[in-house]
Every structure is written in structure tokens, then in C-alpha cells.
């Protein structure tokens, strides 16, 4: 039995989720910032963390964007194989939802359809859509407005298969060292290990959807997360580059099967305003 779903429901849900993601900071992220605030010993950095917590409160209360960079609109869809979509194109339904959220809520339109000509579409579209077909008759939607100051700091390496865990750690720590204070630390790091060049980068992005303080259940990956977090927090960058140990608030590593000849590693850097929201139809 198939379940018929009109794509207008997807438009409405995408609009609702982007409105929420851009104005209400994720509870796990807010909690991580509060913990850093409690622990911070450098006065400048502590007052900056206080501002970030206050900013999240103001944005949620006044329903305005947490950050003016409301990002490029990334959408993850998990569509049940028993769903039959009707009423138009899926891609257009998602884009209409993005346009609605961004115009209704006065979010900044930051997308240019052509990277060379660079004319703004004025609707923050097209969205970046990743679709998986899964079991069932529902649709799970996760939206992620991704700011580009931090996106610019992402890195990928096609490492040798004989590389050791410490080489993976060194590459990831190097990415944060290169990002320095520029991309709004404390950062969250999504790290993909394995796969192919493109799936590794996607795994890194998806890792940012995990609760920021969560730990990978596989002990060898949890060790990587812990070491990367310790080493990046010893770089001395700190909140907004003001020094101290609050450079990275969370590290999430996701692994994928790969080829005997390679070991791709991708780091997707997020600023402290790590935003996403999920819902179902």
C-alpha cells in the first residue's frame, strides 16, 4: 500500500523548519556554550561567551536570525519507499519552502545560482538537497542553514591507507589551526573518515547533525573524537580568537567503508551558531 503525499506538505514543513533553525539555537549547542561559559577563565572570552548565550535568547524571543548569515539552505530528505508524491516537483516544493521561510522571516538571501556571474536569486534558492530512500511510508526532513564563513574553512585529504589514527588527528587539528579565529570559534567539527571523496565530505556534514557533545559508539572513533577535541583545544585560539581553551565545543566523527588504496578524511567546520531542525510528515 502506498501513501500519497502532496508536495505542498513538504513546502510547509521545510518553511517551518528553516524558520525554527535560524531563530532557535539547538538545545545541545546552547548547553555546550553555557558549559564553556561556566568553565572559561579568560575575562574577554567569558564575556564573549555570555554575549553568545544572550544572543541566542534574544533571537528566540524576538524571532530574528541568530546570525545574519542564515546560510546556504541544506536539506536532508529521507523518503519512505511506500510514499507516492503528487502535486508537482519535489525539488521545486523544497525551494518554495526555503523561499517562504526566508522572505516571511526577513532572513538574508545569500545564494547566487552562478558562482562566476554571482547574481543573487533573492530567494536563497536553489537549496542543496540530499535525498535517501528508506523503508516506510513517511518523510523525515532535516534542514541545516550553513553559514559560509565556517564552510570556507572545510578541508578534505585523500590520505594513504597506511596512515595511522594520529595522522588523521593531525590533519583535523591542522584544519582548525588554519581556520584560526576567523570563522567564529568555538567551533563544532563534523568529520568524515573513509568512503569516496564526495561521500566523505557528505559524512562530515551529516556528523554536524549529531548532538554536539555526543560520542561515537565505536570506541576507536570515540578515541579520535576525544583526541581531536583535546588537541584543538590546546591550540590557544579560544572564543573569537581571544585565547584560552574554548576553541572547539564538539567533535563528531563518522566512518564509511572505503577502498584498500585510500583513506579520505573530510573536516566540515561549523561556527558556534550550529543550526539545524528536524521534522516528519
Amino acid at each position: 500500500m502506498s501513501r500519497k503525499i502532496d508536495v505542498s506538505l513538504i513546502t510547509a514543513k521545510v518553511a517551518e523548519l528553516f524558520a525554527r533553525a535560524n531563530t532557535e539555537l539547538r538545545p545541545d549547542v546552547l548547553e555546550a556554550l553555557r558549559e564553556l561559559y561556566e568553565k572559561e577563565s579568560i575575562p574577554n572570552a567569558k564575556s564573549m561567551l555570555g554575549v553568545l548565550v544572550e544572543n541566542a535568547g534574544m533571537a528566540g524571543k524576538e524571532k530574528i536570525a541568530i546570525c545574519q548569515d542564515t546560510g546556504i539552505s541544506v536539506v536532508f530528505l529521507e523518503i519512505g519507499m511506500d510514499v507516492r508524491l503528487s502535486g508537482g516537483s519535489l525539488k521545486e516544493a523544497v525551494d518554495r519552502g526555503v523561499e517562504k521561510a526566508y522572505s516571511d522571516n526577513f532572513f538574508r538571501m545569500s545564494v547566487v545560482p552562478d558562482p562566476v556571474l554571482r547574481e543573487n536569486t533573492g530567494g536563497n534558492t536553489p537549496a542543496v538537497v540530499h535525498t535517501d530512500i528508506v523503508e516506510g511510508d513517511g518523510i523525515a526532513i532535516t534542514v541545516m542553514p550553513k553559514g559560509f564563513g565556517s564552510e570556507n574553512k572545510g578541508k578534505i585529504a585523500m590520505m594513504n591507507p597506511t596512515s595511522r589514527p594520529e595522522d588523521i588527528v593531525a590533519f583535523c587539528v591542522g584544519a582548525v589551526r588554519d581556520a584560526g579565529p576567523d570563522a567564529c570559534p568555538p567551533y563544532a567539527l563534523g568529520i568524515g573518515v573513509g568512503g569516496t571523496m564526495e561521500t566523505c565530505a557528505l559524512a562530515a556534514k551529516k556528523a554536524l547533525l549529531r548532538p554536539v557533545s555526543s560520542v561515537n559508539p565505536a570506541p576507536h572513533l570515540a578515541r579520535l573524537e576525544k583526541e581531536i577535541k583535546q588537541k584543538t583545544n590546546s591550540l590557544g585560539i579560544g572564543v573569537m580568537g581571544l585565547g584560552g581553551g574554548s576553541t572547539v565545543m564538539g567533535v563528531c566523527v563518522e566512518a564509511l567503508p572505503t577502498h584498500i588504496a585510500g583513506l579520505p578524511v573530510a573536516v566540515n567546520v561549523s561556527c558556534h551558531a550550529l543550526r539545524s531542525a528536524s521534522g516528519e510528515i
Binding site: 544572550e54 536570525a65 576567523d182 570563522a183 585560539i237
Partner: protein, 175 residues
């Protein structure tokens, strides 16, 4: 304790500011980010005058969110480093201050020192909080660039930190 600073910045004020100082800025500043910088430098190359005379002024690297029913939308700083290739000509033309986030190139740092200017950083990712420090906002040039246009902002007690002072001292030197 933050120093209260009023724009326009005088030579004396600039000289008194030291890297690491926390300040509260009040007065008029102008937003400009990537495309506005590129255009201004192209105009200078052609010998044209700028739509906003920059002598003595402060630029804020910011592309605000639309205002809606507010004075301004969320309006935090963008990454300053992307403006580095365009900054020296503006400093040579009298720009006295910049507000953004993150590091500057050694070329820009040198030009800040030579031209007795100052570079401030403010709270990145705190655009909602900073919008409450803006008391007026008006588009004054490059309107077609929308969020990337030049907006004249009047700010009151806008929090910032001196990142590079007029002597060339730099809070980011440790990197």
C-alpha cells in the same frame, strides 16, 4: 571596563587605543563587504570618487539581514580576511577604522600602522544581540547589491575589541 569611543575617530582617540582594549563604539559607521569593496577599488582604479567619502570613517564588514519591522535585522560581522586584498587602497584614501572578525594579512596590518588607523573585532555570530545596538540604518550606495550594499548605521555602545592598533600591535600575532 570598556572605553567609550565616539565616531568620527580623532587622531588622539586612535592613538589612545591599544590592542586588546574593550570598547563601546557610538556614532556613524558604514557597512561594506566583498562586492562593495571590489566596486570601490575598481572606482579608485578608474580615478572616480567613491559614493561615500571614506576620509576619517569606519567600515563595518557586515551584510545585515533585512529589517522587517525593525531598525535592522541580525547584523554581526563577516570574516575580515576576505576584504584584505581591497583594504590598503581604502586606507591610503583616508579610511580610519574597520570592524570585523578574524585575522588580517601582514600587508593590511602594516598599512593600518602606516596610516594610523585601527581594526576592531566584534562578536561574530551574535547578530541578534548586535542589532539592538543599531539606532538607525539607511542604504546609501550600491543598492542593487541588497545585503551587500553600503548602509549608513548609527550605533550606540556597540561592543568591540581593538585587534590591531595604530602602532601595529595585534592580538592575533600569536597565530
Amino acid at each position: 571596563m570598556s572605553k567609550k569611543i565616539t565616531m568620527p575617530l580623532t587622531e588622539k582617540t586612535i592613538e589612545s587605543l591599544k590592542a586588546g582594549d574593550e570598547v563601546l563604539l557610538s556614532g556613524v559607521i558604514y557597512t561594506a563587504r566583498d562586492q562593495a569593496h571590489k566596486r570601490m577599488c575598481e572606482m579608485l582604479d578608474k580615478g572616480e570618487s567613491l559614493p561615500v567619502p571614506l576620509a576619517g570613517e569606519v567600515l563595518y564588514y557586515c551584510g545585515p539581514a533585512p529589517r522587517g519591522k525593525r531598525i535592522i535585522g541580525s547584523c554581526g560581522p563577516t570574516t575580515s580576511g576576505r576584504m584584505d586584498p581591497f583594504t590598503e587602497p581604502l586606507l591610503e584614501n583616508g579610511l580610519k577604522g574597520m570592524i570585523g572578525k578574524g585575522r588580517r594579512s601582514s600587508g593590511v596590518a602594516g598599512s593600518i600602522r602606516r596610516n594610523k588607523a585601527v581594526y576592531f573585532v566584534t562578536a561574530g555570530g551574535a547578530g541578534a544581540y548586535l542589532s539592538a545596538k543599531v539606532v538607525s540604518c539607511e542604504c546609501v550606495a550600491f543598492e542593487d547589491l541588497a545585503a551587500e550594499a553600503i548602509y549608513k548605521l548609527k550605533i550606540e555602545e556597540f561592543p568591540a575589541i581593538v585587534a590591531i592598533d595604530s602602532k601595529g600591535d595585534n592580538i592575533y600575532d600569536k597565530y
